[in-house]
């Protein structure tokens, strides 16, 4: 065998503070496929990232793509084998639900990727792009769930994952107002909600709904026991509907509450609600519209999160106008406030 034949071209993508479009070629010596001969690897600019440089020389964390934190058993088994072969003695679950295989030598990228490909297990993203959407269990099996968060996480991954944006762009799906996945801290968050409607003739005045509502939105009439509803207190949790034994409470408007502009990090922002009870398809339209608006509004602004841009003069209005063009006015919140700062020195840094 000639030397040239042994040198297998391995294409890896590394995104550790490497901006896309900056084609930096780094040539390194690499052992290829367990042979002792040296080969070459080109670190080109990446498409979607997912290999994160560790502090240890030559070692990377390989972040797997797990939409909604779900992984089939066959994928999990192969991931475990891959970790055993190429990683250290453990795996790590990222805060955004991705299974990570730490301490993989970059010379093994090709090997680990080939192994994961046998079960079509993809690599997640990092850097300035749409990350893998996160989701709670949702209505498929969580008793509180109103929306099918798992399906929506999968669909939004298929449609939007990896799209290039100014900065990271995180989408999250919560099934109900418990908001276990913390949509209030997402760039774009969707949280299930139900507006309850009451059908008086079916009501027996049992008072269960008044007891079930944790928000003081329902009081039992002192004589009849029938509900007195205070819509201003209602957070759309569906408890009254699920508790009512006679189906007097029913689901009226139902869908996703849409939050935008949240983020964690050194300067956290609380997302603001821009629309209510949107359908699954409208949710996808909103994601598409928001990414495009962000790409546009972010031109020339470098690594700036969506929420930061929305706080700039006139930007919230511009966004709402774009959103109205996309889904119409009915479900929009009128004049939503900008995302709110969470600051460490409130006296010195006004909100």
């Amino acid at each position: 065998m000639s030397k040239a034949k042994d040198v297998k071209k391995v294409k890896v993508t590394v995104d550790h503070h490497l901006e896309e479009g900056v084609l930096r070629k780094v040539t390194v010596d690499a052992d290829i496929e367990g042979k002792n001969e040296k080969g070459k690897i080109d670190f080109a600019a990446l498409r979607s990232g997912g290999f994160i440089k560790q502090r240890q020389k030559d070692k990377f964390t390989v972040r797997l793509k797990c939409p909604g934190g779900r992984m089939s058993i066959d994928k999990l088994k192969v991931a475990a084998q891959a970790a055993e072969k190429y990683g250290d003695k453990f795996v790590h679950f990222s805060v955004r639900q991705s299974l990570e295989i730490p301490t993989v030598d970059y010379r093994n990228f090709d090997g680990i990727m080939q192994m994961l490909e046998t079960v079509e297990q993809g690599i997640a993203s990092c850097g300035p792009r749409v990350r893998v959407p996160t989701a709670c269990g949702g209505c498929e099996y969580n008793p509180n769930g109103i929306t099918d968060t798992q399906r929506m996480a999968q669909e939004s991954t298929d449609r939007f994952f990896g799209a290039r944006t100014n900065h990271k762009f995180k989408i999250s799906w919560s099934g109900c107002p418990h908001d276990c996945i913390k949509t209030a801290g997402a760039d774009l968050g969707f949280q299930g909600g139900v507006y309850p409607v009451w059908d008086e003739p079916k009501c027996t005045g049992c008072t269960i709904c008044a007891s079930a509502c944790q928000e003081d939105a329902i009081h039992a009439h002192p004589e009849t026991g029938k509900p007195i509803f205070d819509a201003e207190q209602c957070i759309y949790c569906d408890d009254c509907v699920r508790a009512c034994p006679t189906l007097a409470w029913q689901e009226g408007k139902k869908g996703h509450i849409v939050r935008i502009g949240g983020k964690a990090g050194r300067h956290p922002l609380l997302a603001t609600i821009v629309a209510q009870f949107v359908s699954d398809e409208e949710a996808h339209t909103i994601i598409d519209t928001t990414i495009k608006w962000y790409q546009n509004a972010g031109k020339g602004k470098g690594r700036t999160r969506l929420g930061v841009i929305l706080r700039e003069e006139g930007m919230m209005d511009s966004y709402m106008k774009t959103l109205e063009e996309a889904i119409g006015p009915e479900k929009l919140v009128s004049n939503p406030p900008v995302p709110q700062k969470i600051v460490i020195h409130p006296q010195r840094n006004p909100l």
């Binding site: 008793p143 008072t207 269960i208 007891s211 079930a212 944790q214 009849t224 408890d239 508790a243």
Partner: protein, 86 residues
């Protein structure tokens, strides 16, 4: 406030001191020991406990026949086994 006060009670359970998930498991076990159409009476706390039991019993296909306020903080619920839609 309640309906049909004169149901025949087959079993009684006090879950006032229990929290999730034991409140549910105990109620479920008691219901498992009954036949469809029999009634279990449960004494529970107002608030979270009543809320959860109402929702869970409905999910499991039973029917809450009546709810009576025992005192400020306690409710007496009568559950008809297998009487729900679920």
């Amino acid at each position: 406030m309640s309906q049909e006060a004169d149901l025949k009670i087959s079993e009684f359970l006090d879950i006032c001191e229990e929290v999730c998930p034991m409140s549910f498991i105990l109620t479920k076990k008691k219901l498992d020991s009954l036949e469809d159409g029999q009634v279990l009476e449960v004494l529970c706390q107002a608030g979270e406990s009543l809320r959860s039991i109402s929702i869970q019993m409905k999910d499991e296909g039973h029917l809450i026949k009546s709810v009576k306020r025992e005192d400020e903080n306690h409710f007496r619920i009568q559950i008809l086994k297998g009487g729900g839609e679920g």
